[in-house]
């Protein structure tokens, strides 16, 4: 009788522990899924924010400038006596301000956004700005004089 009771107790205890272990494993899986989901949301947010911000930054700069000159990997935006050089180099979008009319060198600027490439082309009625962020390309058209 005593043996039977002991066995029964052991089975109940082990069963409870197994159940607890099962829930613990499930919770671990939920936490892993949640961490993955959070990481994905964070990455997407970062990518979208960088892409749209850099496109809007370039767009606003183009709209507020008097003259636009497209360079390889960048552009020069002249406004009054100053010129802004916006260019891509070393994994980032850089900008520097110089006196208009001087030699425009693509170096020594300040990093604005971390991106993987920028392409600016001049079409008849608009500029096309393509920004590469984390391997994904985002394009926008910016009208001339609108």
């Amino acid at each position: 009788m005593k043996n039977y009771k002991n066995t029964s107790d052991t089975i109940t205890t082990v069963g409870s522990m197994l159940l607890f272990l099962l829930v613990a494993v499930c919770m671990m899986m939920i936490i892993a899924a949640a961490a993955g989901s959070y990481s994905r949301i964070s990455d997407n947010y970062e990518t979208n924010f960088t892409a749209s911000s850099s496109i809007r930054y370039i767009s606003n700069k183009i709209k507020s400038s008097d003259k636009v000159e497209i360079l390889n990997n960048g552009m020069v935006l002249e406004n009054g006596g100053t010129a802004n050089i916006i260019y891509y180099s070393d994994g980032g979008l850089y900008e520097k301000t110089v006196t208009a009319g001087t030699d425009y060198e693509i170096s020594g600027g300040e990093k604005i956004f971390e991106i993987n490439g920028v392409d600016i082309s001049d079409n008849a009625d608009y500029y096309k700005v393509t920004v590469n962020v984390s391997g994904e390309e985002y394009s926008a058209l910016i009208g001339k004089g609108t």
Partner: protein, 133 residues
């Protein structure tokens, strides 16, 4: 004797069950919260891409004043939007002797739910180089 021996074990078992129930409910709540966050993140991503797309449409439309031509140009230059997004357009033109005022309203929806709606306009003067004139 038997009853007094079984009681503590049953209580322990009930306690374990209650704890497990609590954890299970917490897990379900956490899952639903993260599923909601994922859904909202997707929606936010779509909204962001639609807004950049709309900006391009507005820029091109201001020059062309023609909805079909504008959409064709933007699709060619910027690529297509996510396939789940449906785009409906409404164009209104007011002509007078000086030129044509065109007003374009675009509505982006996903599964019938509106994501973004905007209106842009263009004024094409007579004698311009646009086919609208």
């Amino acid at each position: 004797m038997n009853i007094s021996n079984k009681r503590p074990l049953n209580l322990f078992f009930i306690e374990i069950i209650i704890a497990l129930l609590f954890f299970s409910i917490s897990g379900a709540v956490i899952l639903s919260v993260f599923a909601g966050a994922d859904r909202r993140s997707h929606k936010s991503e779509l909204l962001e891409s639609v807004m950049v797309y709309s900006q391009s449409i507005a820029e091109v439309y201001a020059v062309s004043g023609n909805a079909d031509e504008t959409l064709k140009t933007v699709e060619k230059e910027c690529g297509r939007l996510d396939e789940s997004i449906e785009l409906s357009k409404f164009e209104e033109k007011t002509e007078n002797t000086a030129g044509t005022l065109s007003k374009l309203t675009l509505r982006f929806t996903e599964d019938g739910e509106e994501i973004y709606k905007f209106t842009c306009s263009a004024y094409i003067q007579n004698g311009g180089n646009n086919e609208q004139t």
